[in-house]
Symmetry: D3
Subunit: 135 residues, 6 copies
């Protein structure tokens, strides 16, 4: 009996969308206000879901406290109150779009989740824009 368990978390960060190999005009044309060279920022709302069989002993798929601590250790400590472009190595040569951030978060968590479990990451960049990545 497979169940999906989900945990919401939160971090906030500054970022800028642009490509170093494009000139200013092209960056502004493609990324608009998100290309502001002085950065802007977001409150990112994160929902991490793990799907697997219920452990008949505990009644848990995965202990929510363990999942909460894992998100804090692997994701919040790496991204919260950070400038994604400058301070998060994964975005040195990759644009910190919501799509790419969701993949970075997935990759940070995947090694620490039971191999038999599926992982899903939903990331809200604003209350009206969000992305979903399932590996």
């Amino acid at each position: 009996m497979k169940v999906k368990v989900s945990r919401k978390a939160h971090f906030n960060a500054a970022h800028r969308l642009y490509r170093k190999d494009w000139d200013d005009d092209k960056n502004t044309q493609v990324f608009g206000k998100c290309n502001n060279p002085n950065f802007h920022g977001h409150n990112y709302e994160l929902i991490v879901s793990v799907t697997g069989e219920i452990d008949p002993e505990t009644g848990f798929v995965m202990d929510m406290k363990v999942l909460k601590d894992l998100i804090e250790e692997k994701v919040e400590n790496a991204l919260d109150h950070k400038n994604l472009n400058i301070e998060v190595p994964e975005f040195k040569d990759m644009n910190p779009t919501a799509e790419n951030i969701s993949i970075v978060i997935y990759n940070k968590l995947r090694p620490h989740i039971n191999k038999d479990h599926e992982l899903e990451v939903v990331l809200y960049e604003t209350p009206r824009n969000f992305v979903t990545y399932t590996g």
Copy 2:
């Protein structure tokens, strides 16, 4: 690496649920208060999701601004502040239930979405009732 990107939008409209070929008793029995001949209305909350490969150049599956403008042009302009039964041609002979509205919205958007991308429409008729259509 497929990611699903989602955008929330909003419109409000009046409607009435009934069938012209049923008498009043049957319409009231099946549709209850929703059969009020003077109409009632809703704030519809809409979530449109597009799933596809990330463009490695931009880091976008689909530019959210483009998706926002597309929803405004094709959906909000057609449905916002309208009487669905009287003013929206698709509902001339089709009951404007949440289910049918979600399909109409899907069909309005589908031709304008990249063919390799999947499309999903979630429509909240009230904060407690909503529907999902994926084609």
Copy 3:
């Protein structure tokens, strides 16, 4: 020890903003899309608050179940799934703006609330527009 107790409720309705004594041009200029002669509609979210001394016997200012039933009987029965302009007598000669609806709701409830208690009505016309009336 005065405490304010609040109860959320919900109704949906159709309406139209216009003045019979204005011509179409003036109505459209002032009320825009809200002047659609075929009506549009909203999910109205309502928060009714009653402020007063705690009854030391029960620990209640006012029993929430009583307040819930009162809102249902006096407000929801009168407004839910209705066309405000056509079916609600208070709006026969008064524009059903959120401001005016909040006053109508206040007046429907006030006679049934303890005279020593204060009454407040908050009415959301959309998730982004709301009004507050305190008598």
Copy 4:
């Protein structure tokens, strides 16, 4: 044309997580504060979804009023304002984790849903912890 229709409901209850065959130390180690022998409680938010073909006559997959009444009769009456461990027979020998509660709710509803329809249960234990079960 398959559509998924969803209805939100609500109940609140007390519970405690523990195993009778474990000693206090092990129960506290695994279940932490949730093992409080005097119980704690939650407002459970429930989303029940039914997926199937739209009935061309009504435009409904399933009448939301029928689904609402079914949830009230089969789920809310059984769980609302209850102590899950003491008063709900399914949890006599099963830990009332969110995962297990979602399966109990699914099993209560499944016999009353059209066999051709799929059923999904989403259960929020807190605004930050929730589970999904699809049978």
Copy 5:
């Protein structure tokens, strides 16, 4: 220049509404399902607000981290995952209604807030029922 700063927090607990000096019939008549002798429970959402002059040095009325820690130490540690009737001394002879809980929380926080600052407590017992206490 006075500003009100607000911080949301969360705890969950079991409780029961009844008076020891009333018989079962009267308790059931007044408190209904909330009188379940086996307890039920809630996720309580708490908003604590402090109003005062902005400190011109920091730009803070009160450091939100300090307020967050104070709520955790004085309120969450005392109430979270507790049975209010059995484990919280203030409710030994006082009914744990939302009204009374809000006053207990206010009294726990008031001594630790700057005397020149005003304090307000908003407590959601369910998403639809909440109370406000300002001393």
Copy 6:
């Protein structure tokens, strides 16, 4: 008959909390992670409320469309997708705390609101931290 009308808006921005005349140690001690010299950011949710008499002709205290456009012109254009410390002149020598941002927003709007009307600004820095300023 005075009514308060409220409009929600949204902007996102980067900022950093620190004082130029303090050394790094003191800034970190007081402002913690918010002192990150590379900036971090937020989705700011804004609620602007105007209180006044209802215009008996229109039924409006203030046309919500006018209020929406005013917020966009005076607040969103000045703050959205900006680095508050670098690009918003008001914060050249003032810390962009939520408290100070709410006062800046109030001062931007006040000259454009009817003098007989009261103005209130509520600003959410995160879903859990918010401030209220009423002049």
